[in-house]
């Protein structure tokens, strides 16, 4: 599913922002944010930063940003959901043959 265009209003009955964190995608988003944060911290340590506070703070910032990005994508996918778009993405409708159209 490709997300383009303006953000639509969330449909009624859709899971809330916090509920999205409780899904499998939310769980992977949290774990992946920690991985990215630790990667960023390790990069800083490898470049020669001696203080422990700087890599920890930078890692926390990067992790929070990564989680915000994941969460934003999840919210946008939920808000732009329409049954027709899912049908177009998931169901192949063959073109009409000339014999059928006649």
């Amino acid at each position: 599913m490709v997300l383009r265009g303006t953000q639509a209003a969330p449909f009624h009955g859709a899971p809330g922002a916090w509920q999205l964190t409780l899904t499998a995608a939310g769980m992977i988003a949290v774990v992946n944010s920690v991985v990215v944060a630790s990667c960023a911290g390790l990069v800083l340590v490898a470049t020669g930063v001696d203080s422990l506070a700087i890599p920890v703070a930078a890692g926390a910032l990067v992790g929070a940003g990564t989680f915000a990005l994941h969460h934003r994508h999840h919210r946008r996918a939920r808000d732009t959901y329409t049954p027709e778009a899912v049908d177009l993405a998931a169901i192949l409708i063959p073109p009409t043959r000339p014999a059928d159209a006649a």
Partner: protein, 155 residues
């Protein structure tokens, strides 16, 4: 109730009056709808199982990666080898996690779509057999209104 040539009791099926009023095409249409319902349920179960599988694969990769990092850190005493190993493996793991998360989001949206279509089919069943309204709960294929949702949550 009557018996056939083999002595087996048979009964002629009489549809509900509203269903009979819908016309002779209701029987095949109900069969198509039931088949579609079954396929949608299978597709919905597949999205859940795919999400579980992908999440499990990612967590297994993460777990083995952390164990490998611990071994390397112990052997190299957190030296250059540890950083090289970590800075190669962690970005790869982050990429795998990002791709897994994107696919899981797609799966959850597909799951919502399938649930919506199943609700539409249930609305069709209720139209065909109005007597089932007493025993089934259904949203009628419509999304619940916000006010109803707030009442349900006690707000």
């Amino acid at each position: 109730m009557s018996a056939n040539d083999h002595g087996i009791a048979t009964r002629v099926f009489q549809p509900d009056p509203p269903a009979a009023a819908l016309g002779p095409g209701v029987g095949p249409a109900a069969t198509f709808a039931t088949t579609e319902h079954f396929n949608l349920q299978i597709a919905r179960a597949l999205t859940v199982s795919e999400a579980n599988g992908r999440a499990s694969i990612y967590l297994a990769a993460l777990s083995s990666n952390l164990i490998a990092l611990a071994f390397i850190g112990q052997m190299s005493r957190l030296g250059v080898a540890f950083y090289a190993f970590a800075l190669i493996l962690l970005p790869v793991l982050a990429f795998v996690g990002t791709v897994t998360c994107l696919r899981l989001v797609q799966s959850s949206v597909e799951d919502i779509a399938y649930a919506h279509r199943i609700a539409l089919l249930r609305a069709y069943y209720l139209r065909v057999s109005r007597s089932s309204r007493r025993t089934w709960w259904s949203s009628g294929g419509r999304r619940p209104r916000r006010s109803t949702e707030h009442q349900a949550h006690g707000n």
